[in-house]
């Protein structure tokens, strides 16, 4: 199930011109406010009309100007930033709203095909059973958003569109919903187009990232690649940009540290609740990496990786800084250093260097939650 999108639209003073593919998994549309993320989702759902659009889902044309399938015939579930539950219906009636319009025999993604179990399965998956008899106004923000997600799933959509579904929630409510979305991604093999401007959310959920800037695609591809791509750095914000690398838990040491292995060698982080052999994802922010031209000694930092300088590019927005890409084993680490240090160390592509990571963020899932670990 692949969604292919090519949209050109003039919306007020804003030009949208974006083309990308969303393969199975979670494709994150990522960018700052006003980058065009929501407009793309609305155009895919058929809620706004683009000047020119070509949108296909697994070969079926949803829109190819002037042809335009109306929104109710696209069968795409959309979860909005606000839950948009029907206030005159109970939670159960809200959940069942879409089912009557789904074609006979259509199975909801995210549940087995047997119709009797579908409702219960999704209610279970999202923990909705205790809410069914309530009215939407009696729900908390997090509960309402879970109901909205269940309602979209039960309309038997072929693709789920989520437009900043967590943006109006506080951190506790976000933490309440994220696991459900992860379960959808992992268990239901549900194709999801997910809009967000929050890097931690994207890093946790996305398998594919489309980075948008000013209505155009700045970078797109597998999450790990795009999130460590210099081109996407300005969108992520310089404080958050960095590299993502796969790792495996080696062992838990007696002093409370966990040893993990990346392709370039071992790293140590405070105890991780995962058995040896478990796969992890690490995120190392460019600003947390120090470079050295000799293996550093007499240093409190534990995490030192040897590599070769691949590329040096100017840091956007700050003439004093530069972004350095370091090849460490099979991975690439990003470092942000001053130009003065570059000159002092005489670093250039091909030079040997050691990366000292002051902080490593760890995630248990494929591209999952990152918890900051000082190591």
């Amino acid at each position: 199930m692949t969604l292919s999108v090519d949209i050109r639209a003039r919306l007020g003073a804003f030009d949208l011109d974006a083309a990308f593919e969303a393969p199975p998994g979670v494709t994150a549309l990522f960018g700052r406010s006003g980058a065009g993320k929501t407009s793309i989702v609305k155009a895919v759902a058929g809620l706004i009309q683009a000047d020119r659009a070509r949108i296909t889902l697994d070969g079926e044309t949803l829109e190819d100007t002037p042809f335009r399938l109306p929104p109710h015939r696209r069968r795409l579930g959309l979860v909005f930033q606000e839950a948009r539950l029907f206030p005159h219906l109970s939670v159960a009636a809200n959940l069942r709203f879409g089912a009557r319009f789904a074609p006979r025999g259509a199975t909801s993604i995210g549940a087995p095909p047997q119709p009797p179990s579908r409702f219960d399965d999704i209610a279970d998956l999202l923990g909705l059973a205790p809410l069914l008899a309530r009215r939407p106004r009696a729900l908390s923000g997090g509960e309402a958003q879970r109901v909205a997600l269940g309602r979209a799933l039960l309309s038997a959509p072929r693709l789920l569109l989520m437009d900043e579904p967590l943006a109006s929630l506080d951190e506790a409510r976000k933490a309440e919903i994220l696991p459900y979305i992860e379960r959808l991604r992992d268990e239901a093999r549900l194709p999801i187009l997910y809009v967000s401007h929050s890097l931690p959310e994207i890093a946790r959920l996305a398998t594919t990232v489309v980075a948008l800037s000013g209505g155009r695609v700045a970078a797109s591809g597998p999450a790990a690649e795009v999130l460590s791509d210099v081109a996407a750095f300005p969108i992520m914000g310089r404080q958050q940009a960095g590299a993502i690398l796969p790792a495996t838990v080696t062992r838990h040491d007696a002093d409370g540290l966990t040893e993990i292995a990346v392709s370039a060698g071992p790293l140590w982080v405070p105890r991780i609740d995962a058995p040896p052999g478990a796969s992890l994802r690490l995120r190392i922010r460019a600003r947390d990496v120090t470079l050295a031209t000799q293996r550093p000694e007499h240093l409190s930092a534990l995490n030192i990786l040897e590599g070769v300088v691949e590329d040096i590019s100017p840091a956007q927005g700050d003439p004093a800084l530069a972004e350095v890409a370091l090849r460490c084993g099979a991975d690439r680490i990003r470092a942000r250093v001053t130009r003065r240090s570059l000159a002092a160390l005489n670093l250039s592509p091909g030079a040997k260097a050691w990366a000292v990571a002051k902080a490593v963020a760890v995630s248990r899932r494929d591209v999952g939650a990152f918890e900051e670990r000082e190591g």
């Binding site: 109306p70 109710h72 029907f86």
Partner: protein, 235 residues
């Protein structure tokens, strides 16, 4: 049939009251679908002539009622184009009949009905209809399952207001269908006739008291429906 009416009303007064109730009931019932359509067009529609439609609907509020009645007479009288059409197509005569009184009452009450409905529709979030569309609901289903329930309290309030207004309509009615006892002499027309008759004041006073009760009851009902609406739609 008139047994449930209080004994202190004379037969002509009872007749006028029953006629008024009949006229107001049919005026309200028949104009309901048109009211909903007009409220929907004015609240959600983006079309050429929207301001003109709005003006036409509001006109009876501003025009002297006798002018509205006169225009109705021109259009719906036996020789008027609309009157001839109704007569030939549906076999329905409105000139100098109670049906004409109902038509006059409906036209006069229409702005009030549309206003109440329009307000409740404007308060309903159009993004809910968008959400219904993404859940697969075609336009008619969106209207019936989402829009109508959201504006239902406004529909009820508008209907109650229109009923009360129709009960009290006088100027347009008397200009259009005159004041024929048993056919078009509604409560206000009967009060007017009684005032023209020596010794008619006590009967006029009784009918006036009745009118006051009906109007107050309608206003109270309309207000409480509006409050219920606010509670229901608040999410």
């Amino acid at each position: 049939m008139t047994a449930w009416l209080p004994d202190w009303l004379g037969p002509a007064e009872k007749e006028a009251l029953l006629l008024s109730l009949k006229v107001a009931f049919w005026a309200t019932l028949v104009s309901l679908p048109f009211g909903i359509a007009a409220a929907h067009a004015l609240a959600r529609g983006r079309f050429w002539g929207r301001a003109l439609l709005d003006g036409l609907i509001q006109a009876p509020l501003i025009l002297p009622p006798v002018v509205t009645g006169f225009l109705l007479l021109l259009a719906f009288g036996r020789n008027g184009p609309a009157g001839a059409f109704l007569e030939n197509t549906f076999g329905l005569t409105v000139a100098f009949r109670w049906t004409g009184a109902a038509l006059a009452a409906a036209v006069m009450a229409f702005p009030l009905m549309v206003r109440a409905m329009r307000l409740s529709l404007e308060a309903a979030d159009p993004r809910l209809e968008e959400a219904a569309a993404t859940l697969g609901a075609p336009p008619l289903a969106r209207f019936v399952l989402v829009t109508l329930p959201l504006m239902a309290p406004g529909i009820l309030a508008g209907a109650v207001l229109a009923f009360a207004k129709a009960m009290g309509e006088f100027g347009a009615t008397i200009a259009f269908v005159a004041s024929i006892p048993g056919e078009t002499r509604t409560v206000p027309a009967a009060i007017y006739a009684l005032l023209q008759t020596p010794g008619g004041e006590p009967a006029a006073l009784r009918l006036a008291a009745l009118s006051l009760c009906v109007a107050l009851a309608a206003l109270v009902a309309s207000e409480s429906l509006a409050r219920a609406a606010a509670r229901r739609i608040a999410s």
